[in-house]
Amino acid sequence: MAVILLRTILVYCMVIAAMRLMGKRQLGELQPSELVSTILLSNLASISIESPELPLMASALPVLLIVCFEILLSALCVRSRRAARLISGQPVVIIRDGHIDQAALRSLRFTMDDVLEALRAKDIFDPAEVTCAMVETNGSVSIYRAWEQDTPTRQDLGLKPDSDAQKPQMPFVIDGEIMEDNLIWCGKNPDWLKGILAQNRLGLSDTLLLAGDDTEQYTLVRKDSRT
């Protein structure tokens, strides 16, 4: 048992170190420790299924241990920025005021193609349009467009809202179940809901979706009768 424990710790530390060493290019959307946990968990979980002669503990214990590590590491990262930097790294700026930081690209082993691909994914075809671009710890690229190239907002254009709604449309009933938090957030109550259903001659169980905002507007979808 102690061997399983020690081997799990060894493999976990080893894979995290390897992932950190490989850098951000190897990561998708997950943080390094999350990716390591995912890889190990998927393999460990299958051990006891594939090999019935092995005791269940041989895979259950390492899986539990990894889950513990993952939670404790993330808790540690929340408390300590230093630990977070050590475990997950930190974002790296690759474009500043339209200028590409080639040293940063080299250290990340990003090619120009990778940068252009990331920009194109955000509908930008010219790096000069970017004020700031950074590679996040999970490997994704965040971009802040130059002010003159950025899409204007409604506020910039001085547009007025076409409805009085201050809140987005939220579901109040989904498949006959009342979402009370949403009702309260939009300033409604169960009596209002009952009134709407009564107006439409519908019971709660006949309602597939009832959504609304903080105005009297709502969207109602009734359940199809099953034949």
Binding site: M1, A2, L5, L6, L56, M57, C68, A75
Partner: protein, 122 residues
């Protein structure tokens, strides 16, 4: 932070389970080893009937502990140990002392192998 607390408790539980399992396995293996040697000694002293009783006692204990040990040790390895121990019965008479000693050595080696698998570090 509730998750962190659960994880900490889980970690403590895992450590406790590890210690308990090590204690259970060590005790079971030590007893088996000791009783097997006693069986051989009894037979060498000419008390083969008593040796048979002792061996029956040992196989009974192994069978009753199998469920617990199978939580920590591969079932096929446990089965091999049981077979080795049960196989000693055929040599429990004064004519087959040398064979008994040889088979007992074999069973002890098997036990040592499983012990190394369980307690060995790398």
């Amino acid at each position: 932070m509730a998750r962190a607390k659960i994880a900490a408790w889980l970690l403590l539980g895992i450590l406790a389970a590890t210690l308990v399992s090590s204690w259970i396995v060590r005790r079971a293996f030590n007893t088996t080893e000791q009783q097997m040697l006693e069986v051989v000694q009894l037979c060498e002293q000419g008390r083969c009937e008593r040796a048979r009783e002792k061996l029956d006692e040992l196989t009974g204990k192994l069978q009753s502990r199998e469920h617990m040990l199978a939580l920590f040790i591969r079932r096929d390895l446990l089965g091999q140990i049981q077979l080795e121990v049960a196989g000693l019965r055929a040599y429990l008479d004064e004519e087959h002392i040398a064979d008994l000693q040889c088979e007992a050595e074999h069973a002890l080696a098997q036990l040592q192998t499983v012990r190394r698998l369980f307690f060995g570090m790398l």
